[in-house]
Symmetry: C2
């Protein structure tokens, strides 16, 4: 058995999310990638990812792994990414691949992740950003938003920002950075890096901060929302199309033991 790790980018618009949602929901990313792998290797493949992304959410640097009954040597003379591109549509691209040690696990070995959320901030919408951003008409006060984001950094219980669903015992997470910045004249970007994220946590954090900005609520009240451990206290969930899984981080020693293909 050979363990393969790969980096994949996808436009999530036309998918029901990472995980299969039932026959009527459309293709899931996991299913689409597993089917492509099974075609390329002519054997059933089970795929693990660093985490699930919701319907409509995108990834620049999702990380996955799978085991396949093919000797390592065969991979070294062969362009795996290219072979996969032959059976995938244009909205999924395998960017890099490695032969991974047996103790590498895309989900369990991940130490932290960075997400980005894009807001298109102009009086008129932009059709070229419609699939990849949330449109906000009123000019955003980034300094104000940054004061909100500052409340999130550190170790906190994020239960108030978790959408009901999969039950999680421990809702404490550590946020390493939370930054609002203007990427170009009309594009605003929120970057958040943390040890892990609860269900729809980034979208709930973005939605809440945008509501605080809209109604000019005192940013320090975000601490009270965190303390309440109550989803009702936080704001609405921001729409999925603005969210992008930017990068997943693994321990340096594990990275070193992955051999690039």
């Amino acid at each position: 058995m050979t363990r393969i790790r790969f980096l994949v980018s996808y436009d999530g618009t036309d998918f029901c999310g990472w995980q299969k949602q039932g026959p009527s929901a459309g293709a899931s990313l996991q299913q689409t990638l597993e089917e492509a792998l099974s075609k390329v290797f002519d054997q059933k493949i089970d795929l693990s990812a660093s985490g699930r992304t919701d319907a409509g959410v995108h990834a620049l640097g999702q990380v996955c792994h799978f085991d396949v009954d093919v000797p390592e040597e065969r991979f070294l003379k062969w362009d795996f990414c290219w072979a996969m591109q032959g059976v995938l549509q244009k909205n999924i691209v395998i960017r890099k691949a490695w032969i991974a040690p047996a103790d590498f696990h895309a989900t369990l070995s991940a130490t932290h992740k960075t997400y980005r959320y894009f807001v298109y901030n102009h009086r008129r919408a932009n059709p070229f950003w419609a699939r990849n951003s949330h449109w906000v008409k009123k000019p955003l006060d980034l300094e104000f938003l940054q004061r909100c984001a500052d409340q999130l950094v550190g170790e906190h219980d994020f239960k108030s920002f978790q959408t009901a669903g999969t039950p999680v015992l421990n809702t404490v997470r550590t946020i390493h950075e939370a930054r609002w910045e203007r990427r170009s004249a009309n594009l605003v970007q929120f970057t958040i890096t943390g040890s892990g994220f609860l269900k729809q946590m980034v979208r709930n954090l973005v939605g809440t901060q945008l509501q605080f900005e809209k109604f000019q609520r005192e940013p320090t009240e975000i601490a009270q929302i965190l303390a309440a451990r109550d989803r009702q206290k936080a704001g609405a969930t921001a729409p999925p199309q603005g969210l992008l899984l930017w990068k997943v981080f693994y321990p340096a020693d594990l990275d070193k033991r992955c051999r690039p293909l």
Copy 2:
């Protein structure tokens, strides 16, 4: 009758082009916009654009005009763009509108146009540029491409770069600028401004230049292709998704007589 001029951006991916192509080809931009206008004004509206765009081709700054049986005063108290957005999908956005003088004509008054063509130039494709660029794997030599583009500037007969279709008597056009540049690490942009463009002329010019670069053909041979007045001598048509109608220009005095809404 009031004449309205407007500026519209659209993602052409899901359209059969500007003009209606028959029932099986999917919606055209003209039809979609005319239906939206008819809904907003509750009367039949005929729409003129600066020119047609092909299936899959995008526009940032397409210019249109129409006449409507509504007094001018009504427009001044009303957000026309906003009303249109209510009946349009996210892939078309009306950005600005003006009350235009009766002698303004979106097609006939246009003096020149700028198109841009985007090439995503990296070993691996990018799913977020799949709809808006042509993917070229091999690193492009921009200096070489610029030497090709330099051959195009000036007044020439572009018959060799015209795709058969609508017959045009005069195939002489003037190119004011033709520029290749790197917009970001992996994105290459070709900008061309001219007095007018024949059917698929920009895509034929891009396809030919990319072939010259690939096979390192002497750039000055482009002059021979122009002189031949024979489509067979030029290269392949570059795919539509890389092309964007960037801006349409009108005489300054006509612009001045258009009153912004």
